[in-house]
C-alpha cells in the first residue's frame, strides 16, 4: 500500500499522482507504440479498430458516465463524422469561384468532421435539455433514426444504399490510412482525446457535469448553468464521437447507412456500461470487450453443437445477457472489478470485502419541478 505525503495542492491536480503512474502508463505506452513492429497486419487492423471504438466510447462516457445523460443515438454522431470525412476527402465539396469540387486535406477535414458532429450534438442537445433518463434516451434514439434515414435518402451527397467510397489518404508516397501509419494516427488522436477529457474532468466544467449527474437542483444552486453545461457536454461528446467516425470512415473504406444503425448505438452504450460507467478507463476496457466478444463468440461457435451455434440472434442475445449480468453484479463494470482486484493485492492479506459494498442511499429531496 502506498501512502502519499502531500505537500502541495498541485499534487491533487496533476495527472500522474505518484511515480507509479509513470511506470505503469509509460510501459503501456511503450507496448502500444512497439506493437505494430511485432504484430501482423490483421492484428494491427484490430488494434486500430479498438482505438477508434475506444474514442467513440470516451465520447459517450463524457455524456452518459459523467453528465448522466444517457444517449441511445450516438451512432448518429459517429455516422455524421464518417460521412463528413468521406465527402470532404473523397467526393469534394463544390465551392463558389472554384470549378472542381474542393478536396480537403485530412488535417482540415477531420476537425471539420468533429465540428459538424458537435453542431449536430448542440442541435439535439438544446431541444432535449429538459428531458432526463428514459425520455432523453427515447429522444436521442429518435434522432438516430432520423439521421439514419437522412444518410440513406440524401443520395446526392451520401449515395444512399449504393454506398460511398472513401479514398485513402497519402502523405508523400506513404499511405496514411492503412497499416502502421493509420495505427499511429488513431493512437495519437485517442491519447489526445483522453488527455483533453482528463483536463476537462479536473476543471470547473467537468465538475459541473458530475454535479449535474448527481443532483441537478443543488448544482443549479451552486451556480451551474444547467442548459450551458449540458449543451457543452452534448457538443463535446458528439464531437469526439464524430472524430472517431471520421477515422472509422477510412478504416472501412466504404460507407453505407447500414454501418450506423441503432445496433451501433446500443453497442456503444453496452461499451460504456460494461467497461465501467463513470471512468475513462471504463471506455477503454469496454472497447476491448465490444471488439473481443464477437470474435470470442465466433471461436466459441466451433465448439458448440450446431443447433445452438446456428441459432440466429445469438450475438445480440449474449450482448444483452452480459449487459444485464453486469448491471446486477458489477455496476461499475470491468473497471470496477479491476479496482477490486488491485485493492485486493494492495491490502493483502487484510482485504475486506466490505470496502466496496454499496451503501444504502439516503432519501433524496422530493424532486423539484
Amino acid at each position: 500500500m502506498r501512502f502519499l505525503f502531500k505537500t502541495d495542492y498541485d499534487q491533487d491536480i496533476r495527472i500522474a499522482k505518484h511515480s507509479g503512474y509513470y511506470w505503469s502508463y509509460g510501459l503501456l505506452l511503450l507496448i502500444v507504440i512497439a506493437a505494430p513492429y511485432f504484430l501482423e497486419g490483421y492484428y494491427i487492423g484490430q488494434m486500430t479498430q479498438l482505438y477508434i471504438i475506444a474514442m467513440a466510447g470516451v465520447g459517450l462516457m463524457l455524456l452518459a458516465g459523467y453528465t448522466g445523460l444517457v444517449s441511445l443515438g450516438h451512432a448518429a454522431f459517429f455516422g455524421i463524422g464518417a460521412y463528413t470525412e468521406a465527402v470532404l476527402t473523397s467526393n469534394g465539396v463544390p465551392l463558389p469561384f472554384v470549378e472542381e469540387p474542393v478536396i480537403f486535406p485530412f488535417v482540415i477535414s477531420m476537425p471539420l468532421a468533429a465540428i459538424f458532429a458537435a453542431l449536430a450534438g448542440v442541435a439535439i442537445g438544446v431541444p432535449v435539455l429538459r428531458l432526463t433518463g428514459i425520455y432523453l434516451a427515447i429522444a436521442t434514439f429518435a434522432f438516430a433514426l432520423v439521421i439514419e434515414e437522412i444518410l440513406s435518402r440524401w443520395e446526392s451527397v451520401t449515395n444512399g444504399y449504393t454506398g460511398l467510397l472513401v479514398e485513402s489518404l497519402y502523405i508523400g508516397d506513404t499511405e496514411l490510412t492503412d497499416g502502421a501509419p493509420f495505427y499511429f494516427l488513431c493512437l495519437g488522436l485517442l491519447v489526445l482525446v483522453i488527455l483533453m477529457s482528463i483536463n476537462l474532468l479536473r476543471s470547473p466544467t467537468g465538475r459541473a457535469m458530475m454535479a449535474i449527474r448527481d443532483s441537478e437542483v443543488s448544482a443549479q444552486s451552486m451556480g451551474v448553468n444547467l442548459a450551458r453545461v449540458k449543451t457543452t457536454a452534448f457538443a463535446l461528446s458528439a464531437g469526439i464521437t464524430g472524430l472517431a467516425g471520421a477515422l472509422f470512415a477510412h478504416k472501412l473504406g466504404f460507407l453505407s447507412p447500414e454501418s450506423f444503425t441503432v445496433f451501433q448505438s446500443l453497442e456503444l452504450l453496452v461499451l460504456v456500461v460494461v467497461g465501467g460507467i463513470g471512468s475513462l478507463h471504463g471506455a477503454i476496457f469496454g472497447a476491448i470487450f465490444v471488439l473481443a466478444l464477437p470474435q470470442g463468440l465466433a471461436i466459441l461457435k466451433d465448439y458448440l453443437p450446431t443447433a445452438i451455434a446456428e441459432t440466429p440472434g445469438m450475438e445480440p442475445f449474449i450482448f444483452g445477457l452480459i449487459l444485464v449480468l453486469v448491471i446486477i453484479f458489477e455496476p461499475y463494470g470491468i473497471y470496477g472489478r479491476w479496482l477490486k482486484i488491485k485493492h485486493y493485492f494492495q491490502m493483502f492479506p487484510v482485504y475486506k470485502k466490505a470496502t466496496f459494498k454499496r451503501q444504502k442511499a439516503y432519501m433524496k429531496s422530493e424532486r423539484l419541478k
Binding site: 495542492y9 476543471s203 470547473p204 465538475r207 449527474r213 443532483s215 443543488s218 451556480g223 439516503y362 433524496k364
Partner: protein
C-alpha cells in the same frame, strides 16, 4: 435599507396556496429563523429565494437588487447559497470535489482553456483550492477530504453540505433544517458553527429549523408560518410564548 426583503410573497400550486402573502425583512449580520408545523411552506420559501420556483406574486430584494426574476443559476454569484433539507450532495464525488463545485460561481474559465488545462487554469484551480481549504479548516473536515460522499455517515454529509454552501463565499446563507438527523452532540457543533458563520465570517443566516433549543440559541429573529401564512414574528422568547403559536403546534 434592509439586506433581504420579501414583500407579499406568494406561490400557488394549483389551488394550494403554499405561501400566501408573506412579508419579512432580514438585517445584515443577523440570524433569521423560520419555524412552523410541517407543510407550513418553510422550504417553499427557500425554493422561492433560490429561484427554483417562480413566485406567483410578490417581490424579493437582496442587497439592493430585485431578485424576483433572476435565473436560478445566477443566485449563487449574487451571494446567496443554500443547503437542502435532505442532503443533496454529489454522491459519487469526493468531499473535495463537492466543495470545489461550490466554487463554480467564481470560476470564469472557458471550455478551450479547460481542455488544454493552461497554466493560468492551473493557477486559478490552486486559488480555488486554497479557499476550499479554508472552509475545510473551519469545519474540521480534514479527515474526510478524499472520501466519497456515498461512504460518509449522515452527520458528516450535513457538515459537507454546509461547507459547500460556504465555499461560494455567500453573503446570505440559507440553511434548511441544519440539525435534522443529527444527534445531540452534532447539533451542538452545528449551533457553534452557525454562530461562527454569523459572527466571524459575517454571513447573514436564514434558517428553517425545528429544534427550538438550537433556534433560541442562535436566532435573532423568528418568523412563524402556518399554512403559508405568517403567524407570529419576534425574538425566540416572544414567539415561544405567543398563544397563536402554541395553538398551531399543540392545538387547543
Amino acid at each position: 435599507m434592509s439586506f433581504f426583503k420579501a414583500e407579499n410573497l406568494a406561490i400557488n400550486f394549483g389551488g394550494v396556496k403554499a405561501v400566501d402573502g408573506v412579508n419579512f425583512e432580514i438585517n445584515k449580520g443577523e440570524c433569521f429563523t423560520i419555524i412552523g408545523p410541517n407543510g407550513a411552506g418553510k422550504t417553499t420559501i427557500f425554493n422561492l429565494i433560490s429561484r427554483i420556483y417562480d413566485s406567483t406574486e410578490g417581490k424579493m430584494t437582496f442587497d439592493g437588487q430585485d431578485i424576483t426574476k433572476v435565473p436560478p443559476h445566477a443566485i449563487a454569484s449574487l451571494g446567496i447559497a443554500r443547503t437542502f433539507q435532505n442532503i443533496e450532495l454529489f454522491e459519487h464525488a469526493s468531499v473535495l470535489q463537492n466543495l470545489l463545485v461550490g466554487r463554480h460561481c467564481h470560476s470564469k474559465t472557458n471550455i478551450f482553456s479547460e481542455l488544454a488545462f493552461t497554466p493560468s487554469m492551473r493557477r486559478t484551480e490552486i486559488a480555488h483550492r486554497e479557499k476550499v481549504e479554508e472552509v475545510i479548516d473551519f469545519l474540521d473536515l480534514q479527515h474526510y477530504r478524499e472520501s466519497l460522499i456515498m461512504n460518509l455517515p449522515y452527520g458528516v454529509r450535513k457538515v459537507v453540505e454546509l461547507g459547500r454552501a460556504l465555499c461560494t463565499e455567500p453573503k446570505l446563507i440559507l440553511l434548511d433544517e441544519p440539525s435534522s438527523g443529527l444527534n445531540v452532540e452534532e447539533t451542538q457543533d452545528m449551533s457553534f458553527w452557525i454562530d461562527d458563520i454569523k459572527k466571524d465570517l459575517g454571513i447573514t443566516v436564514l434558517m428553517v429549523e425545528h429544534d427550538m433549543g438550537l433556534v433560541s440559541e442562535v436566532s435573532d429573529q423568528v418568523l412563524v408560518l402556518n399554512y403559508g401564512r405568517m403567524l407570529a414574528f419576534g425574538s425566540p422568547q416572544d414567539v415561544q410564548n405567543d398563544p397563536e403559536v402554541i395553538k398551531a403546534y399543540l392545538g387547543e
